[in-house]
Amino acid sequence: MTTVEQRIAELARGIEVHVDAAFAAAVQARQRRRRWRRLTAMTVAAAAAGAAVVAGVLVPGVSNPSQVRIGGFEGAGPSPLAGVHERLVVWPATSCCDAAAGNSIWVLDLATGRRSLRAFPPMNGGDLPYTMIRVGSRLVFTGAAGPSSIPESLTGRPLLLGQATWFLPSSAAPGQVLLVHDPTASWGGSVTPVSVTDGRRGRTIPVPSDAAALEDTTSGLLLYTRSGTLELWRPAAAPLVLARVPDPASALAAVSPHDVAYATGCRSRSATQPGVNGPVGYYACSMLHVTDLAGRSQQFAAPAGTAGWVPVGVLDPPGVSPGGRYLALTAVLPGSSAGASRLYLVPLGRGGGRPVAVPSSARGLYNQTAWSADGSWLFYQGAGGTLRAYRPATGVSVTLPIRATTSPYAELTVPY
């Protein structure tokens, strides 16, 4: 008969611990990063304090771990966009939601080229339409506990907006998003408007049982239905059918406060992608349709030399620039089992014109994009893990001073 003490020791000896050979290196790297950040913070704080004395003002310190590798990105040089007062939030798509890597994101100040690694609250994973958007002075994101908001300065505690599955932007109500309660993960459910600043909620609206919400517009809730229609809907009112699409969940190309874009003439394909296990399925479509909320429609054939438009489906639909002038959309190149593709800008509205290829945008299928707040710059991923910026008005395209290292895919948000 063993004693309790002996049994404890016996059980403790039975505990198996497996440690990867990289553990020691990780410990050292973590400590070096901490030390480096402390040193940098002290240096910058001292410099800022000196500048404050000279200028008579206080200057906020900014860390700049330009050569530190973490989270799959690294700094690569000065910013070519001095004077562009935007900040770009970048994080690796494949590890956004991992408890370790997900708590760190890059903030790239385009005006100065400064790159900061910032702590960020845990985020939820999964196929979600929106991962992070800016609403007023706050960032709304899919937090681990539910949609949450945090000041755009990334300081302070996040505000949990609700226990919903995800959220949708609302152009109908400034300062709000829609919490989407989708218990069956398919049709129906309900939406609840909520203030991103104080969490105050509006009245919950049940969504028709054969429909799913896409966006809250000034003309009503934009829905797609099981029967294949895109429609505007208000409670207790007849829906306005904007378009009939065979497979709206997959053929949707973009949603904005003004337009909905979808593709037709689609063929299902698959391709291998770097960093992705197994083949990746996608649609290659011959025609793109853009319909504004008044029902006016434009069509764009797939660009010459491509095998078709690649709609993003109900995931990642926000490719329309603020103001609604352009739609950024990928077209797949022919004869490639790897799904090589190129990004195009589709001109929207009455100006007319043809889609224009974005320079140096050839890469894999899923090209995350983000627009500057004024719609003048498009940020996207280029070949070789680079992040790039393109100005449609001038045709200028530049490489940003940050590039992917371990992950070829990035999530991009422009918070300011």
Binding site: T3, A12, I15, V17, H18, V19
Partner: protein, 180 residues
């Protein structure tokens, strides 16, 4: 633990498994355990030149780890986590380490108040004397002895420890601070 490796990296390679086991038993949470070990080793790394010259490096590192555990608990409430099943593999969050606790000792220890858990781990897993445990925890010797006795009494009925004899809990704190 044997001869202390000269370089920090060698030390981590040689000792990280035992440190993770200690951290696992203190926290019963794989993520917390790896965090704790990383934090402790980080502090050691910053002072490795002096630490490696110490008489008992392992004791120093153990003290850093236990202190780090206490510090973390002071800063935040320990989140209540669902314990892994007895035969579960508790993978840590970035895949650098994993703990397999088939006997469910961490789950059993989790049923104890924090101080009693620390005492049991240090006394009966790390094999410290009551005096060493008291010194490391910064508490009176009597607290260690009474805490150990209460903890063993409580653990005696735990399913994970059912093979233990009925009278063993009463001998939880032999000696008077001397090494057994």
């Amino acid at each position: 633990m044997g001869e202390v490796p000269a370089s920090f990296e060698s030390y981590v390679v040689a000792r990280s498994a035992s440190m993770l086991r200690l951290a696992w038993l203190l926290t019963a949470d794989a993520d917390e355990a790896e965090d704790l070990v990383q934090a402790a080793l980080g502090r050691v790394f910053a002072r490795w030149g002096r630490v490696s010259a110490a008489d008992d490096v392992d004791a120093y590192v153990r003290r850093v780890l236990v202190n780090a555990h206490r510090s973390r608990l002071r800063r935040k409430r320990v989140r209540q986590v669902a314990l892994v099943a007895a035969d579960a593999v508790a993978d840590t969050r970035d895949g650098l380490a994993a703990v397999v606790d088939r006997g469910g000792l961490a789950a059993a220890l989790r049923s104890l108040p924090l101080r009693q858990r620390q005492i049991v781990v240090l006394r009966y897993v790390e094999d410290l004397s009551a005096g060493e445990t008291a010194k490391l925890l910064g508490c009176p010797l009597g607290t260690v002895k009474s805490g150990a006795a209460r903890a063993l009494a409580a653990l005696r009925d735990h399913p994970a420890l059912q093979e233990a004899g009925p009278g063993s809990a009463t001998v939880g704190c032999p000696g008077n601070g001397e090494r057994r």
